[in-house]
């Protein structure tokens, strides 16, 4: 009885839920792309963009000669910075990518390539 009623009702009320929720042609895209107010970022940045932004941050550092900056450059050996400048650059990178890097790990980032790799592997980088 209940199931007959249910199927009778369902025959008349048909909401194409899967279609309404579809974005980008995939029904999973709603889950993976749009999570508004979520603690998990919905934008995943590509490695090229990370490299570009990391280099931008390093180039805009006042004591750095922008022409020397390359993706494999070492902050202290190649750019002539000292260890405290290194700390400042890592903090600038944290702000650029909205990250919070633990002190011990941030201390180990001493070159552009390490910074790019760390940010690329960080799930929250945005």
């Amino acid at each position: 009885m209940a199931s007959a009623l249910r199927s009778a009702v369902l025959r008349h009320i048909r909401v194409p839920v899967a279609e309404t929720l579809t974005l980008n042609g995939s029904k999973w895209s709603l889950i993976s792309n749009v999570r508004s107010m979520s603690s998990h970022g919905d934008d995943h940045i590509t490695k090229e963009e990370i490299i570009h932004r990391v280099l931008d941050v390093v180039k805009s550092f006042p004591k750095v000669d922008p022409s020397k900056v390359a993706p494999d450059v070492h902050f202290q050996k190649d750019l002539g910075l000292d260890s405290l400048d290194n700390v400042e650059i890592v903090m600038a990178l944290e702000e650029e990518f909205k990250l919070e890097i633990p002190d011990k790990e941030a201390d180990k980032i001493d070159s552009c390539s390490l910074a790019i790799e760390y940010i690329h592997n960080h799930p929250m980088a945005s």
Binding site: A18, I31, S38, S39, G41, L84, N86, M124
Partner: protein, 115 residues
């Protein structure tokens, strides 16, 4: 040989302590600064404080200076520091997280074809 090795090890430990202290102090400066232009001036003041003792010799003196610095940092700890939103204590921490992998959401529930 071992004396110089232990000297170098102690120097390396001191350098790491100074780097971490500088990092924390810089973050504290950013917490206290209301505006960015205030932060720039405070940060350069902080940098000057560190640079003033750049060439200090003597392990004991350096240790004492680091301890003084850490004590001062502890004294000026911000009561409500900035935390990035996704981190523990942040404003978006664990908010609306994605479902765990392996969970399937059935969108046409109740409209299966076999009914």
């Amino acid at each position: 040989m071992s004396a110089s090795a232990s000297y170098l090890a102690r120097r390396a430990a001191q350098k790491e302590r100074v780097r971490i202290l500088y990092r924390r102090a810089l973050k504290e400066t950013l917490n206290w600064a209301v505006h960015r232009h205030l932060f720039y001036r405070d940060a350069s003041d902080l940098r000057e404080k560190f640079d003033a003792n750049k060439n200090v010799e003597g392990l004991e003196t350096i240790d004492r200076l680091i301890e003084d610095g850490e004590a001062e940092h502890n004294k000026w700890r911000h009561p409500d520091p900035y935390i990035v939103p996704w981190a523990p204590g942040g404003s978006k921490f664990t908010r609306n997280p994605p479902p765990p992998p392996g969970i399937e959401i059935v969108y046409n529930y109740g409209q299966e074809d076999h009914i």
